[in-house]
Symmetry: C2
Subunit: 330 residues, 2 copies
């Protein structure tokens, strides 16, 4: 079958369309006829080699997010041929990815696609909605009335996190760098949008929380931004971060008796532990989408598998608003 | 009344016995005839100036831990004159400490002393048992069967944490540097004691957890030890640390999708928020002591308020095993 493969880390130009061998289905696996995928920052890092530690073996088929139609299910599966499904189920060490004609996946990671979504919309959701769920529900356990500050509301995880936090009853604050991205945050349900280029952390903590800090800070940006998150959280509050590498001054977490959650959504894929939970989250997310509590926002640019390098370049540019998706034209 | 006061930060020799003014009781306050106190590492740091940020104003009366007899209660108090009580209730910014004849405290921080304990034993418990409770119960929420690694089992917080983790049903591992301290850990109920000078983190994670890591790591040591805690925790595990200042490589928390809790027990004293909870914890601890689930271990050396500097020097030497206490001889 045809696949987009990578034979070395580096620039997007390294993607090649090649024929690769198919393999037989094993127990608990599904073969999905891939209709669409989406690009996540981790895909860029795997492609460039920055996240080599998570990368599948060469020739590597990247991308975890998939929406498609079940072509074949192992005997006894809860899925049937023809089911429209979505998942984040590969593109990392040990698991082949979505950039191919047919993807073989562990059924534990899969759920039926929200009915009203197109394949491209379905493929936009898995990684980001599972990440937001793990951070805000499983780890932080956001309660109604809590103040939740979300850094990066126009990003993939951020735009789902705003809607999820709102659905959980939180008072939602978002930070962004442009009025367009601020508006997107508000359109998704944020109560307040903060332009972080115009307002310091100290200023917005003072203005919005009377100097006390936010109950919860969800940092989808990471790096130097983590210090801002530690500054913005209240005493006994919680910070969750999905890109929390490197050295950081942890003193504020101590002085504030605060909790920090590192969130690496890839873990069940990498370790084969806790995969059922990802399938369960996607079931819940599908219900929320069906009941119009949550929706994916797609970036305006159109890409396909044969132009996947351009899709990577677009996400890398920082200009994308919402999710960058690609439909299968192999 | 007489008090041991500090007029400048520095060595233990700076402690002076002086007459200080008494003040009137305000609503919700108790006057406690102080019988004993204990020395905690934070008292050393406040005295030396390292923790100046938490220090009471000069002339400063240090020490939070107190056991004594209620001399006077505000009208309507749930305490009565003559009650034997214990608390961690001062010795920090805004709150005068225990090194005096009579200490005025917020009754929310106070509970009745465990019946079978001497005043010195009672004074050994408040700060360390509240800290262990906040870490293992309030924050981590230790569940039966979980593996809990406690760094520093022979220390004040550590020796209570071992007993508390055991009472919660955990499988308890402790680290220590000498066979005497390892034996103390086992005597207190630890299932396994590890000599960290003879076994690397990698080795004991492999030996005791098959390389997976511990469900919970409670780090009462801090500093460079935090990296060891991050190394020892399992995927999706939790680390709690009571001295978590400074820069640390947070990458393992991300890679493992792990949670970190900074625990600063002083916060309710410093902020006047959540003080009731400290009184409640001490009530629970008293019940545990009464039912022989938990006990304080006192270091063999005897000190009084007039030799409090020597008590500080002893704790600072690292040679103390269990709590260093001092009885009131003012």
């Amino acid at each position: 079958m045809k696949a987009v493969v990578l034979n070395k880390f580096g620039e997007p130009i390294n993607f090649r369309i090649e024929k690769i061998a198919s393999r037989e289905l094993k127990a608990c696996e599904l073969k999905i006829n891939v209709k669409a995928t989406s690009v996540n920052p981790v895909d860029l890092k795997i492609r460039s080699g920055v996240a080599e530690t998570f990368a599948p073996e060469f020739p590597a088929v990247l991308h975890g997010d998939v929406a498609g139609i079940v072509e074949e299910a192992f005997p006894g599966s809860s899925f049937s041929k023809g089911d429209e499904v979505y998942a984040c189920a590969g593109g990392v060490k040990g698991l082949s990815g979505a950039l191919c004609e047919s993807m073989i996946v562990d059924q534990k990671l899969v759920a039926k696609k929200p009915k009203q979504l197109s394949m491209a919309e379905g493929a936009a959701l898995p990684l980001v909605s599972i990440t937001a769920w793990e951070a805000l529900v499983d780890r932080v356990n956001v309660e109604p009335g809590q103040t939740v500050l979300i850094h990066g509301a126009a990003g993939g995880v951020g735009h789902i996190a705003v809607q999820l936090a709102k659905a959980l009853g939180a008072i939602v604050y978002t930070t962004a760098s442009t009025s367009e991205k601020m508006q997107m945050g508000k359109d998704l349900g944020a109560d307040y949008a903060i332009n972080y280029k115009e307002m310091s952390v100290e200023d917005y903590v003072k203005h919005y929380t009377n100097g006390k800090g936010f109950d919860v800070v969800f940092d989808t940006v990471g790096g130097d931004n983590m210090e801002k998150s530690f500054q913005a959280v209240r005493n006994s509050g919680q910070v969750a971060c999905i890109v929390g590498s490197g050295e950081h001054d942890m003193t504020p977490l101590y002085i504030k008796s605060a909790t920090y959650h590192g969130v690496l959504m890839l873990l069940p894929m990498l370790t084969n532990e806790g995969r059922e939970h990802h399938g369960e989250i996607l079931k819940r997310i599908a219900k929320m989408v069906d009941h119009k509590v949550l929706k994916p926002v797609l970036d305006g640019e159109k890409f396909s598998f044969s132009s996947i390098g351009e899709a990577h370049t677009h996400l890398e540019s920082g200009k994308a608003i919402g999710k960058v998706v690609a439909v299968n034209d192999l």
